[in-house]
């Protein structure tokens, strides 16, 4: 498991105490007055004896990209299905733009655009007819032809609209599915692993397009288990494990909670020559990683230039000074490790979970 091999510095006890359980109140953005596009509260959904969603809570602020992050079987797809009302929760409640998708399903679904893990296209139909089908179901009657062409052009698939979709490459299918999802100009876009099966270049292009979509105010919910995809894209992440939300918030805030102190790694030419750093101003902790390398926690990164100057004055020949910027991957494994340490993951998994 990557969790055990990651070299990220051990997170400090988050400050304040780690919010391992979901927040009871809406997140910071919602508190700041921004509305919630989606509110999933304490939802349970089982398939037979298998619990797919187990007290799941997700809050999605309007106009932002929220990434549902979790391993396969974490419940991401089932969460999306409950948001559109395709599946009814057994317990808890879901609201999309304040509406219950089970009661007002047509209204909710007509405001959503979906791209599922499989593009869900009709292979025997042409690209045009696939888009036309969606346009009719979503009742895009005004300027339908122009809107189909415009959506196809936006994702660079207009040249292939006359061809049967069965002959499309995976990348072309994904682009067509994306075009279909925006055809009716939805307020909420739900992408379930949209880069599944794509080569890195196509995946990057798709992620760029998703980023562009929020420019016009659309809200995006994207599921992925690829941490690199979420990095830089997510305004907000919700980490799922076994049908339950482990943690939610803005990536920067979460990493700040887990790594509240500035951390850097220093390497010197001579062994044990970094010892003087232990007592320099601003150094909160000093840990030897090897005879020539040490990890330092500082009260602030602004201390670094003075620190380097002081060590150099002491005759220490530094070969590298690397500030640690925790990535989403570091955060992901830190959260999972903590959950495992608290027996939360084991507890959830024992209850039996599927997608």
């Amino acid at each position: 498991m990557q969790a055990e091999t990651t070299h990220a510095p051990t997170p400090s006890a988050p400050n304040p105490a780690p919010e391992f359980k979901r927040p009871e109140a809406p997140d910071d953005q919602a508190k700041a007055g921004q509305g919630l596009a989606v509110a999933v509260h304490n939802v349970h959904r089982s398939f037979g004896d298998v619990k797919a969603l187990n007290d799941l809570t997700i809050e999605v602020p309007e106009g932002r990209i929220t990434v549902l992050l979790g391993p396969n079987g974490a419940g991401k797809t089932t969460a999306i299905r409950t948001i559109t009302g395709a599946l009814a929760p057994h317990e808890g409640h879901v609201r999309v733009f304040g509406l219950d998708p089970i009661v007002e399903g047509e209204n909710v679904r007509s405001r959503c655009g979906i791209v599922s893990a499989k593009p869900a296209l009709y292979d025997r139909l042409s690209g045009w007819h696939n888009l036309e089908y969606a346009a009719e179901l979503y009742e895009v009657h005004d300027d339908q032809e122009a809107k189909i062409r415009s959506a196809a052009a936006r994702f660079g698939i207009e040249h292939a609209l006359d061809q049967p979709v069965g002959g499309f490459s995976t990348g072309m299918k994904t682009r067509l599915a994306l075009a279909r999802s925006v055809l009716h100009e939805p307020e909420l876009l739900l992408f379930d692993e949209p880069t599944s099966g794509l080569d890195p270049e196509s995946a990057q292009a798709v992620l760029s397009l998703i980023r562009e979509m929020t420019a016009n105010g659309s809200t995006v919910v994207m599921c992925t288990h690829h941490l690199a995809e979420a990095e830089g894209l997510a305004d907000r992440i919700v980490m799922l494990e076994a049908g339950r939300d482990l943690i939610a918030g803005e990536p920067a805030h979460l990493t700040e909670r887990y790594w509240p102190q500035a951390t850097l790694t220093m390497t010197a030419e001579e062994e044990n020559s970094l010892e003087p750093a232990r007592n320099l101003p601003g150094v909160l902790s000093f840990t030897d990683q090897s005879p020539t390398t040490a990890e330092l926690k500082l009260d602030d990164f602004v201390r670094v230039p003075d620190l380097v100057a002081a060590l150099t004055a002491e005759g220490v020949r530094l070969t590298s000074v690397e500030p640690f910027q925790p990535s989403l991957e570091d955060l992901y494994f830190a959260v999972r490790k903590e959950a495992r340490d608290n027996n939360e993951i084991g507890e959830i998994q024992e209850q039996g979970v599927a997608q």
Binding site: G85, A86, E106, P119, D123, R124
Partner: protein
């Protein structure tokens, strides 16, 4: 019920069928075999053989028909009367077997097929209601069978009038009972069968299983439809109306139950196990 959604689902399914040569070529062959080739061979043989022993023996078989049916038979010669009886009474089941076979083939895979191809996900998340999807799929299954039958019926009428007409004093087909059969009796039997087949299609796990299960369901229904349609042709006009009326009532009840049985979960495949 949003009929725009119903029409859209039906239109798209039909569009896919039209593009599937591997479906409509066998369908056309089946229709032409039942409506043209077999009747043509039989009727041309009888009318061209004339007054021979074999025709006389078949002619005697007419006597076992109900009196109401016998009264309808016209023709001065045994060949003419025999070919008239065959044309009007023998081929009634064709009008039932062909549409039921074709529509069942389409309908049995319609929902499970969406699930297998993954397109059920798109439909499940779409604004179309489950009932609208069900009705759209039912229409898309109904139309190929019924359209083939109507086209076949037209071709059959032309054949019968051309081959048998000169023997019985001119064009005589379709008779009033055939009109009633085609427009009043057969459609509810088709709708009833499809309402059951679509329910099965939503419940089974694969297209192959859907074909097997729908075969089991439709065989007895074909038997019932066969006997009732034959009875409608044999009887006076009123009997067709009653048979059709009862069939419509049963079909509408079954359609209503069918609509309630289809959920979005079934399109996604998750409701099977829950």
């Amino acid at each position: 019920m949003n009929w725009h959604h119903v029409r859209t689902v039906a239109k798209t399914d039909l569009r896919q069928l039209i593009g599937a040569k591997d479906f409509w070529i066998p369908m056309a062959i089946l229709g032409s075999m039942f409506f043209l080739v077999i009747p043509a061979v039989l009727l041309v043989s009888i009318t061209s053989l004339g007054e021979v022993e074999a025709v006389a023996q078949i002619s005697q078989a007419i006597e076992v028909l109900p009196s109401t049916a016998q009264e309808q038979i016209v023709g001065d010669t045994s060949a003419g009367r025999t070919s008239y009886a065959l044309a009007v009474f023998l081929f009634a089941p064709v009008a039932i077997v062909v549409p039921l076979t074709i529509s069942t083939a389409v309908g049995s895979s319609t929902i499970v097929g969406e699930r297998e191809r993954g397109t059920g996900e798109f439909l499940a998340h779409s604004p179309a209601g489950a009932k609208e999807i069900y009705m759209g799929k039912l229409l898309a299954s109904f139309v190929p069978g019924y359209a083939t039958t109507l086209v076949g019926f037209g071709a059959y009428s032309l054949l019968v009038n051309t081959v048998v007409g000169p023997e019985v004093g001119g064009w005589f087909f379709p008779t009033a009972q055939w009109w009633a059969l085609m427009l009043w009796v057969m459609p509810p039997f088709l709708a009833l069968t499809l309402s059951l087949v679509l329910r099965l299609s939503g419940r089974v796990k694969s297209t192959a299983a859907a074909h097997q299960a729908s075969g089991l369901v439709t065989l007895p229904l074909i038997g019932v439809a066969y006997s009732q349609s034959t009875g409608a042709l044999f009887g006076a006009g009123v009997s067709s109306l009653w048979i059709g009326l009862v069939a419509w009532v049963i079909a509408l009840v079954s359609l209503n139950r069918g609509m309630k049985s289809i959920s979005r979960g079934r399109l996604l495949g998750v409701a099977i196990d829950t």
